[in-house]
């Protein structure tokens, strides 16, 4: 990134909540990548002699109804949550940047069509739209990534369009046009790099949203399918035995809570750091 943000990290580190969020995000990333080294047991190892064991030294977070280690399953579930989060946000940000840039830069008919399409998409309650689509095309982790991605680009599209509306009037953009730069060059070299700060913030917050949606879908049984572990479907399995085995529900629930909070805190921290009005 340009020297303009050379003190970005220094200022971000002054924000304690953002640092906490960053720590959670980084820790989860390592856990997900090195799941096989961290997990004490294979995630699908069934041990019928150890059914519904409370947390102990052998099983830090207890075992489930099939005797599988809860901690190991949660560690493997982290990868599912994060990959859904990142891929879905990648898809939605890609759509948003392209549509927002076209709408903001060209204006006129292009803008009207794109922005009305945004309004139409926003009319649907997105969670029920996702439910309906998944019910139709069948649950799988890839379908979830795609569906979450194509139903959550509207906010960022509006953001990118607003940035482009003001950027295209800036003198340096006009100078590039006066030099004969092509539209692609003006959009991708002059406008887009100057519009990325709010997009980065929105993407970070978007990961939290996608993780939550994936958990909800898995909880409802149309997300990640058992026996593959995900925090959402672990909650589902836990709810039947919640009176006798609280650990089955509490720990996956906490994992979702901490992950979502981590991304939200980091996203808000980045926003505060990049916002020139909050600079000291």
């Amino acid at each position: 990134m340009a020297a303009l943000y050379s003190d970005f990290w220094a200022r971000l580190f002054k924000n304690k909540l953002a640092v906490a969020g960053l720590a959670v995000v980084v820790a989860l990333f390592f856990v997900a990548v090195f799941a096989h080294s961290f997990a004490p047991y294979p995630p699908d190892l069934i041990d019928t002699s150890q059914v519904l064991e409370a947390p102990s030294k052998q099983h830090f977070l207890g075992t489930d109804i099939l005797g599988r280690d809860v901690l190991s399953r949660m560690i493997h579930g982290a990868g599912v949550s994060l990959s859904v989060g990142f891929v879905a946000v990648g898809i939605s940000t890609f759509i948003a940047v392209i549509l927002g840039a076209l709408a903001g830069y060209y204006g006129g008919v292009v803008e009207r069509i794109v922005m009305r399409f945004v309004d139409i998409m926003l009319c649907f309650p997105s969670f029920f739209l996702i439910l309906a689509v998944i019910a139709f095309i069948g649950p799988s982790i890839y379908n979830i990534m795609i569906v979450i991605g194509v139903t959550s680009w509207m906010g960022v599209t509006r953001l990118v369009r607003a940035e482009f509306l003001s950027l295209k009037e800036r003198d340096f953009v006009q100078a590039a046009i006066a030099q004969g730069a092509s539209d692609l060059r003006v959009i991708f070299i002059h406008c887009l790099p100057n519009a990325m700060a709010p997009v980065l913030v929105a993407a970070t917050l978007g990961v939290a949203h996608a993780v939550l949606v994936e958990s909800s879908l898995s909880f409802l049984g149309i997300g990640v399918q058992p026996p593959d572990p995900s925090w959402g479907n672990m909650l589902t399995e836990g709810k039947d035995n919640i009176e006798i085995a609280w650990w089955l529900s509490v720990f996956p629930g906490l994992a979702i809570l901490i992950t979502v909070m981590g991304y939200n805190l980091l996203g808000e921290g980045i926003r505060d750091t990049l916002d020139p009005r909050l600079r000291r």
């Binding site: 303009l4 006009q174 030099q179 004969g180 092509s182």
Partner: protein, 387 residues
């Protein structure tokens, strides 16, 4: 505090600087203000006659209206009359000053010449070719011949790009030279505007306003253009930097035979740098002439008012000021007849009814005024263009 006391205080402060003991600051300030240009005695040099010099740019009946509000399916019914029927020519290797109050359409006119805006009607001929009928390849080739320098050196440079990439960009766009040839060209450009080689790897925010303006000038020069639209190039700069940048622009003009359209509201700068001057009011040219004619023998009452508003760096000098009454009328609904009549001290009944044409009174000096430059027989001109 009473307003009277306040005024006395300000006058005293002014006296201290101008007449008092702070000699060092005074001489520096005056040198900067004058820069050789404030009260320069104008030699009665006449501009080359109109027939002898060829027009580089010819603007014909140029009109640009901006819609005020446009709905989803509804067409706008209110328009800002930014440029409203301008005829003008820019001659090769001259500096044409374009002056007027804020919002009179000066910048829009400059942007139209570069085809950064599409005109509502009218033509702009660059070396005889209408720039708005050119295809994209031809237009791209033509863009090498005309460039722009902006007013605000803080928004005219991309904050994410180094000076080097900003200066090399026009060469890359037009596929000029190899990598090493481009490097040599950028270094030469930097030297020409007074930047050091080590400046090239820095980002715009590391420079002062004057240095940034030099980068903007170097960028405009990169493609060896013939015409440069200078849109208030020194208005945002400190007075002491101003004269340096003006001198740089003049040197470059001499070295490269550049033609300038110099847009400004600062009359002392325009007086210094221009060969000819056009005065604009509410989207129209109201007076046009060489620098001597405009500054020493102004015809139009608006030009007179502008000239008398120039601050003189001498508190003892009391000018017979022509004070303009009222505000600039709305460019959405400009006054009938002569646009200047509501504020004019010379107005006669004709001014309310009939729009005065830009009338040549001889020696290339023309003005649009019923009193000062009357036309023998006036036939009513179409007031506004209907679109």
């Amino acid at each position: 505090m009473e307003p009277g006391l306040n005024q006395v205080g300000a006058e005293n402060a002014c006296r201290r600087v101008c007449l008092g003991s702070d000699v060092g600051y005074r001489s520096r300030l005056f040198a900067a203000l004058r820069g050789g240009f404030f009260v320069t005695p104008i030699a009665s040099q006449t501009a080359p006659s109109a027939d002898a010099t060829e027009a580089l740019v010819r603007i014909e009946r140029l009109v640009k209206y901006f819609p005020v509000k446009e709905g989803f399916l509804r067409k706008a019914d209110l328009y800002i009359h930014a440029v409203d029927g301008v005829d003008l020519e820019i001659r090769r290797s001259e500096t044409l000053g374009l002056v007027g109050e804020s919002g009179c359409g000066k910048s829009t006119l400059g942007r139209l010449v570069l085809r950064l805006e599409k005109p509502t009607s009218g033509r702009i001929l660059f070396e005889g070719r209408d720039i708005n009928t050119l295809g994209s390849t031809e237009m791209k080739r033509l863009r090498r011949r005309m460039q722009i320098i902006f007013q605000d050196p803080y928004s005219s440079l991309n904050p994410r790009r180094t000076v080097y990439s900003t200066l090399a960009e026009p060469l890359i766009i037009h596929g000029i030279g190899s990598r090493s040839e481009r490097r040599a060209r950028v270094l030469a450009l930097a030297e020409e505007v007074g930047l050091r080689p080590e400046h090239l790897d820095r980002y715009p925010h590391e420079f002062s306003g004057g240095q940034r303006q030099r980068i903007g000038i170097a960028r405009a020069l990169a493609l060896n253009p013939g015409l440069i639209i200078a849109d208030e190039p020194v208005s945002a700069l400190d007075v002491s930097i101003r004269s340096q940048v003006i001198n740089l622009l003049e040197d470059l003009q001499e070295r490269h035979g550049l033609t300038y359209l110099f847009i400004s509201h600062d009359l002392s700068v325009v007086e210094h740098i221009s060969d000819r001057v056009a005065v604009m009011y509410l989207g129209k040219i109201v007076e046009l002439g060489d620098r001597y004619q405009i500054f020493a023998e102004p015809l139009h009452p608006y030009t007179e008012a502008l000239l008398s508003a120039v601050p003189a760096p001498d508190p003892e000098l009391t000018l017979d000021r022509v004070i303009l009454e009222g505000d600039v009328p709305s460019p959405i609904d400009p006054p009938s007849g002569c646009r200047f009549h509501p504020r004019c001290r010379l107005r006669i009944p004709t001014c309310f009814e009939i729009e005065p044409p830009l009338n040549d009174v001889g020696n290339g000096h023309s003005a649009a005024c019923h009193v000062r430059a009357p036309v023998e027989e006036i036939q009513a001109l179409p007031e506004t263009l209907h679109i």
